[in-house]
């Protein structure tokens, strides 16, 4: 009986200790289509198509809503996919994190090369601690003879844990 109780206790300890021993980090990835972004440039609206969001007459800025589960984030990385048809201006996206009152801001910016026909990808990352309220702003060059500069999509890769 004594041995049974001891073995049972050891088993419980083993099962309880196992999760505590497994530590580290993992990633959650979110996909944001460019059409989820909206203009924050006064009086200017974005053009939307299957290729995402683009500016029409003049360059504009957009913000892309982010709703995240509250987790122990240590880093955020964005990969921006788009078409940059301007020779003078680039599609760029800035990921920034603040704490609950807007302070402690940290950010990273991904910029596509100018004047390219093919799809491009650019990346940036930002370290997070308590500044885990994320916002994402992107700049879209004006329409040119080569066509729209489209922000097609953003991949947001969140590192959970350390």
């Amino acid at each position: 009986m004594k041995k049974t109780i001891l073995t049972f206790t050891l088993s419980m300890v083993c099962l309880a200790a196992y999760p505590a021993a497994v530590q580290g980090y993992y990633y959650n990835t979110y996909l944001i289509h460019g059409n989820g972004c909206f203009s924050i440039t006064s009086g200017e609206e974005a053009h939307y198509s299957l290729w995402g969001a683009g500016a029409i007459g003049t360059a504009l800025d957009v913000t892309c809503p982010i709703v995240l589960p509250d987790q122990n984030y240590s880093n955020a990385e964005i990969s921006v996919n788009g078409y940059n048809r301007s020779s003078t201006d680039g599609i760029s996206c800035r990921i920034s994190g603040t704490n609950y009152d807007g302070g402690n801001e940290a950010s990273g910016t991904a910029t596509l090369s100018v004047n390219q026909q093919p799809l491009q990808v650019a990346s940036a990352s930002v370290s997070l601690s308590n500044n885990r309220w994320l916002s994402l702003k992107c700049h879209l060059p004006a329409y040119t003879a080569l066509g729209y500069s489209h922000l097609h999509s953003i991949q947001l890769k969140m590192k959970v844990g350390y």
Binding site: T7, S11, P65, P69, T98, G102, W133
Partner: protein
């Protein structure tokens, strides 16, 4: 050895059975920066900064996108908003509402900050949701810019509470 193995298995079964039989409450907390919210006031656009969204010339309303997991319905929502309320006559406030699938049977709760403070403020509210009415929307009101500065909606914590068997 055989007895030891059997006891270990019994312990594991006991733990598994205990978890499966307990109806537990759990929550999922979502983070939303104020910059995710956009104007629903015709002809008025929000101002965006690291401190979130604010109104410029006149007060305006914004809506903030929500994306909750849909495999279960929350029975309760806690809404916590933080921001800066620089108006002496108007307040930063957010209203969480829930409707059924055709937009009816609306119930809502509002969190409102006290006005005219230089320091950041927080306000919270709780919405209890009868079963099935879990189509949530979140609208906020932003006072106009004053001599004290922008009234910014910084951040939102939305906590959805569920009754469920643990996953």
């Amino acid at each position: 050895m055989k007895k030891t193995t059997l006891t270990f298995i019994q312990a594991a079964i006991f733990l598994a059975a205990h978890q499966a039989s307990a109806l537990e409450e759990y929550s999922v907390n979502y983070l939303i920066h104020g910059n995710s919210c956009f104007s629903t006031t015709s002809g008025e656009e929000a101002h965006y900064a690291q401190w979130g969204a604010g109104a410029v010339g006149t007060a305006l309303d914004v809506t903030c996108p929500l994306m909750l997991q849909s495999d279960q319905s929350p029975h309760s929502i806690n809404l916590l908003i933080r921001g800066y309320d620089r108006s002496s006559i108007d307040n930063v406030s957010c209203r969480i509402s829930s409707t059924n699938n055709d937009g009816q049977n609306e119930i809502s709760a509002t969190a409102s900050m006290t006005d005219n403070s230089q320091a950041y403020l927080a306000a919270s509210t709780t919405l209890s949701i009868p079963g099935g009415f879990d189509n949530l929307s979140l609208k906020c009101h932003l006072p106009a810019y004053t001599a004290s500065g922008y009234s910014h909606l910084n951040s939102i914590n939305l906590t959805a509470w569920y009754y469920s068997y643990p996953h």
